[in-house]
């Protein structure tokens, strides 16, 4: 009898302990950071290229700060969906990492409004970052007078990728410069029996929408859409959405994601694809990470129709969360991320360009060379799909409206939904 008693008690205690252990574990993980002078850097850079870039920056950080340990808290998953879900639960529990990656711009607004981020104005002044980043970039990431993140890299969203062979076959001379030319070119390709425009899953259509709106409305009108009280019901938006509808009518069957859609262009099944410049690495890199195609021969690029001279940008940046366990360590990391050395180590590997204007241009070849010139000389517009201009709820509402448009193909209804989304989210 006594035996049974003992075992019951043992099991009960064991159960209690394991419950308690769940609570204790997390505390240790974050609490230990300060003691060991460890810097927890949270990102979603785990893929080929980006992980190498992170490592290059990490090496510089370690060299400059021998007394700090870099702790890589990367969470896998493209564009950071899973990472951000985990991050928001960490922030809500007030257990932030020392610094985390986020798309620069409106995507950070939720964190800022919730008081989870420290402004970095002092760091900007100390390092004179306002002189080395383009003025427009600083303006576009400033929220109510404060800057909250350090952009590490720049990607371009409005790139038209095309297959030169198919264009020749269809009798199209070079990349279309305007939306009208684009529609004519799509029509010409359609007659050859190839897919005029390849698309992927829903988000790639939102990506297409932002490029079409920028091309149809012009840079200033597009940038104006994200200001308070902007007019989404007007004729300019109507025209842009009708252009979008026309262009979408030439789209092939939706692919699973952006890679299969880009592959259709590389394989000569489709003529055009509008995708960000990360597609370059996919086209160009040797097989395993890419398709091993030759640029200018198997594939070519231009600014998406109507957007020549405008750089629609998106950027990965690092932040300083309020209550970071090792604030000094985080600041040391941000300094590396902002430095010329750090950005020139990271970007050639990741396949993006530095946000700084004084980067070493010899490091950037082929597509990136073109990209860097455009960045230095063009007007800037912020990307919608990639978190620059609209905060998360707004962007989600727009994505939803586009998803519903794909079912109904009704441009007027899309405009109404977009107007409502702007009204309820842009306060």
């Amino acid at each position: 009898m006594r035996r049974r008693w003992m075992s019951a008690v043992a099991v009960t205690v064991a159960g209690m302990l394991s419950l308690a252990a769940c609570g204790g574990g997390t505390e240790q993980a974050t609490g230990g950071g300060t003691a060991k002078k460890q810097v927890e850097v949270f990102s979603w850079w785990t893929g080929p290229g980006e992980a190498d870039g992170l490592k290059a920056m990490r090496d510089i950080f370690q060299k400059q700060n021998p007394d700090l340990t870099f702790f890589d808290a990367a969470v896998a998953g493209g564009s950071g969906d899973k990472a951000r879900a985990l991050l928001s639960s960490k922030l809500q529990a007030n257990q932030p990492p020392d610094t985390f990656q986020g798309h620069a711009g409106a995507e950070l607004q939720g964190y800022i409004k919730a008081g989870k981020l420290e402004p970095l104005n002092a760091l900007y002044d100390e390092l004179k970052l306002k002189d080395v980043f383009p003025q427009q970039l600083v303006d576009q990431i400033t929220y109510e007078g404060n800057v909250y993140s350090v952009p590490v890299n720049i990607h371009r969203s409005n790139v038209l990728w095309f297959n030169p062979e198919i264009l020749k076959e269809a009798g199209v001379a070079g990349a279309p410069k305007t939306i009208e030319e684009f529609v004519t070119a799509l029509e010409a390709v359609k007659k050859t029996g190839k897919i005029p425009l390849s698309i992927g899953s829903e988000w790639t259509v939102v990506h297409l929408l932002e490029s079409v709106m920028l091309g149809s409305m012009g840079t200033d009108a597009y940038n104006g859409l994200w200001a308070k009280g902007a007019d989404w019901s007007g004729a300019a938006v109507t025209k842009a959405l009708n252009d979008f509808k026309t262009i979408m009518s030439y789209a092939g069957a939706p692919q699973d994601d952006w890679q299969p859609a880009a592959k259709q262009v590389a394989d000569g099944a489709a003529a055009f694809n509008i995708m960000g410049d990360w597609a370059y690495g996919y086209f160009h890199n040797p097989p395993d990470g890419g398709l091993g195609k030759t640029s200018k021969e198997d594939f070519d690029w231009a600014a998406s129709p109507g957007t020549d001279g405008t750089f629609m940008w998106l950027s990965d940046s690092f932040t300083l969360p309020k209550g970071a366990p090792n604030k000094e360590g985080a600041m040391a990391w941000l300094k590396v991320a902002a430095s010329k050395e750090g950005q020139d180590a990271f970007n050639p590997k990741k396949g993006s360009i530095p946000a700084r204007k004084d980067a070493d241009s010899a490091l950037y070849t082929d597509y990136l060379k073109w990209d860097l010139e455009q960045w230095a000389n063009g007007k800037l517009a912020g990307s919608l799909q990639h978190g620059v201009v609209a905060n998360d709820p707004w962007k989600t509402a727009i994505t939803e409206a586009v998803g519903l448009f794909l079912q109904s193909k009704d441009a007027a209804k899309l405009q109404q939904a977009l107007a409502e989304a702007a009204q309820s989210n842009n306060q």
């Binding site: 019951a8 009960t12 829903e202 069957a253 699973d256 998360d392 709820p393 939803e400 998803g403």
Partner: protein, 295 residues
């Protein structure tokens, strides 16, 4: 004292799980319903009590209507398909097949795989590319000269969710087979023989003797499949991600919480999912309790 000795160890043993379930299941359920009845539409506001407003306003959203319709189509095809296929497999087994054990294992195996793995494989199998672009099943049909069978699978606007149910049927019908097989085996051989002696034909034996015996099994299978189907999330996300074309309530809930940052809306959708499962499960529990009392 000796009486206490009899029940106390048992109670001590289950106490941790009682506490854990009270907090983590019922406590959280209650918390979710409370949240659903507030206007906490972002993460920072505290939220005032608004009653059932969220529950009503959800029906004004086009996306909600679509995701409910999708859930119904998916449930109908998945539950129906898995029941019929599972029954058929069990029926063939029961007829006495050589190497029954081997077949049983083969049919049961898919159940050991997670929906995520199933989804990744079937995303490729159900690729919507056709003719030159075909891969997966469409390629197979193309190669066999069955071109007319090629279709856009889950990308079809009206019946995409029926295609989405195919992997789920593939995965769960083996399990249903096992349930039915146990049911078939539970029918006493004497009853069948008695029916045959009374002049029943073989199909009549099944219609009037075996099928009535299978009713409880069918009901259990229905409940199990039904609640899986109404909560389906992992399969959909791994096949198509969070796109409207395959939206279901659970995916919509995820988007509301993590993309729209609207806790109240997410909680409302979660509450609807719980309620819809309850509609399935509660009658079963009542029926079960009654039956136990009777026996």
């Amino acid at each position: 004292m000796s009486r206490v000795r009899r029940w106390l160890p048992g109670l001590l043993l289950v106490t941790p799980s009682i506490i854990a379930i009270a907090v983590f299941v019922y406590g959280m359920l209650g918390w979710n319903f409370r949240l659903a009845m507030t206007d906490q539409h972002d993460e920072i506001s505290t939220g005032e009590f608004v009653g059932l407003e969220n529950f009503v306003s959800l029906w004004d959203q086009e996306r909600w209507g679509i995701s409910v319709r999708h859930a119904i189509v998916f449930t109908a095809v998945f539950v129906g398909g898995a029941l019929i296929l599972g029954w058929l497999l069990a029926f063939l087994m029961e007829k006495g097949i050589r190497g029954e054990g081997g077949f049983r294992t083969i049919y049961l195996f898919p159940m050991a795989i997670s929906f995520v793995a199933t989804g990744v494989v079937w995303r490729w199998l159900m690729n919507s590319g056709q003719d030159d672009q075909a891969v997966g099943l469409n390629r197979l049909f193309d190669g066999l000269g069955l071109d007319f069978l090629q279709n856009s699978w889950f990308r079809d606007q009206d019946w995409g969710m029926a295609a989405m149910a195919i992997p789920a049927i593939w995965q769960m019908s083996g399990y249903v087979m096992a349930l039915f097989l146990a049911g078939f085996r539970g029918v006493p051989e004497e009853l069948r023989e008695a029916a045959r002696v009374d002049g029943c034909r073989e199909w009549q034996v099944y219609r009037y003797v075996v099928l009535p015996f299978l009713r409880p099994v069918t009901l259990s299978a229905l409940i199990i499949l039904g609640h899986i189907s109404l909560k389906v999330f992992d399969l959909i996300v791994s096949v198509s991600g969070k796109q409207i074309i395959t939206d279901v309530p659970a995916v919509f809930m995820w988007v509301a919480v993590f993309d729209s940052h609207d806790p109240a809306k997410g909680a409302t959708i979660a509450a609807y999912i719980v309620l819809s499962v309850t509609v399935f499960v509660v009658p079963y529990l009542i029926w079960n309790a009654r039956r136990e009392r009777r026996s």
